[in-house]
């Protein structure tokens, strides 16, 4: 493992659980389906950690509920969706993310403007 984790990995690690809760909030999803929803928005986990351990942790912490159901023409899959507690965690996490993002934007946004000038 590299001694210094890339910035992208660190950022992703801080928000991937929120991203998973957010995409399963849109509709119950199984593992790979969530990966595809993330990819469709431009977030690839190639080169990053897997989502499965994270799903396992969300399940253990009671933030998601899982049920098994047939998928379209495929084998039965384990579908996840946020529990009531998960929806609360998502709302709080998103608020935290927006506060942090706005503060960082307020700082680095100026840097970018100066570079462009």
């Amino acid at each position: 493992m590299a001694a210094v984790e890339s910035r992208r990995s660190q950022l992703l690690r801080g928000v991937l659980d929120l991203c998973l809760l957010a995409v399963m909030q849109e509709g119950p999803a199984y593992g790979y389906e969530m990966t595809k929803r993330l990819r469709a928005r431009g977030l690839s986990i190639v080169g990053e950690g897997s989502i499965y351990p994270l799903l396992g942790r969300l399940e253990r912490d009671g933030l998601v509920e899982a049920h098994r159901a047939a998928s379209d023409g495929g084998p039965p899959r384990k579908y996840y969706r946020p529990s009531a507690e998960g929806r609360r965690a998502l709302a709080e996490g998103v608020a935290e993310w927006r506060t942090a993002r706005d503060a960082v934007d307020a700082i680095v946004g100026l840097v970018e403007a100066e570079v462009q000038r």
């Binding site: 199984y30 593992g31 790979y32 990966t35 990819r39 690839s44 986990i45 190639v46 080169g47 990053e48 950690g49 897997s50 989502i51 499965y52 351990p53 994270l54 396992g56 942790r57 399940e59 253990r60 009671g62 509920e65 899982a66 049920h67 098994r68 159901a69 047939a70 998928s71 495929g74 084998p75 039965p76 899959r77 384990k78």
Partner: protein, 190 residues
């Protein structure tokens, strides 16, 4: 792909993940990898960098999900009450052994015949891990749960998207530690 899953299974066996849970994780993984393959996506798209290290991937999944069966010494470290109960049992056992020796000695010096009985010591663990029975057929789920000493309560629900007789929900959740003989409530598809 199947080689990757086999590696995961070996790691789960090594970590003493209960078979039904390992089977479920392996089946979910296989289904996801098959779907990705059919779409022309690599295993890395599904697994991230986990694709290159099945053992580490399998271990972190099992750890985060909390489905590894802890070894006895870890259990004892985590649960001082259990340790205390076991210490008391050991002391009782030792005391009754001493009693047998003393009584035997007495019976040698006197003509009376004395029969000494050691107190029976309960040996069954007081708490059990809740097995993961989600997605199992009802009969299989009952077998697994009853083998761990659970009283099983089943309710039925119609689910348009699933076959009948499959466990949709369980309470308490897999991996929880509860008293032996607790009730495990299942929701099964009609």
């Amino acid at each position: 792909m199947s080689e990757f899953i086999e590696e995961c299974r070996r790691e789960w066996r090594r970590l003493r993940v209960p078979d039904p849970v390992a089977n479920e994780m392996a089946a979910d993984l296989a289904a996801d990898l098959r779907e990705a393959e059919a779409e022309g996506a690599s295993a890395e798209v599904v697994l991230g960098s986990g694709a290159f290290d099945p053992r580490a991937f399998a271990a972190s999944w099992a750890t985060e999900r909390g489905v590894m069966r802890p070894r006895w010494r870890d259990r004892l470290r985590r649960r001082p009450v259990l340790l205390a109960v076991m210490a008391v049992l050991v002391v009782l056992l030792a005391a009754s052994a001493v009693g047998v020796v003393l009584l035997t000695a007495t019976s040698v010096s006197s003509p009376r015949i004395v029969t000494a009985k050691a107190a029976p010591v309960p040996a069954v663990a007081a708490s059990v891990d809740v097995p993961d029975v989600l997605g199992l057929q009802q009969e299989e789920a009952l077998r697994v749960a009853q083998a761990s000493g659970f009283v099983v309560k089943v309710s039925y629900r119609t689910a348009a998207s699933a076959r009948g007789g499959i466990v949709l929900r369980q309470s308490p959740a897999a991996g929880d530690v509860v008293a032996r003989g607790s009730t495990l409530s299942l929701v099964v598809t009609r």
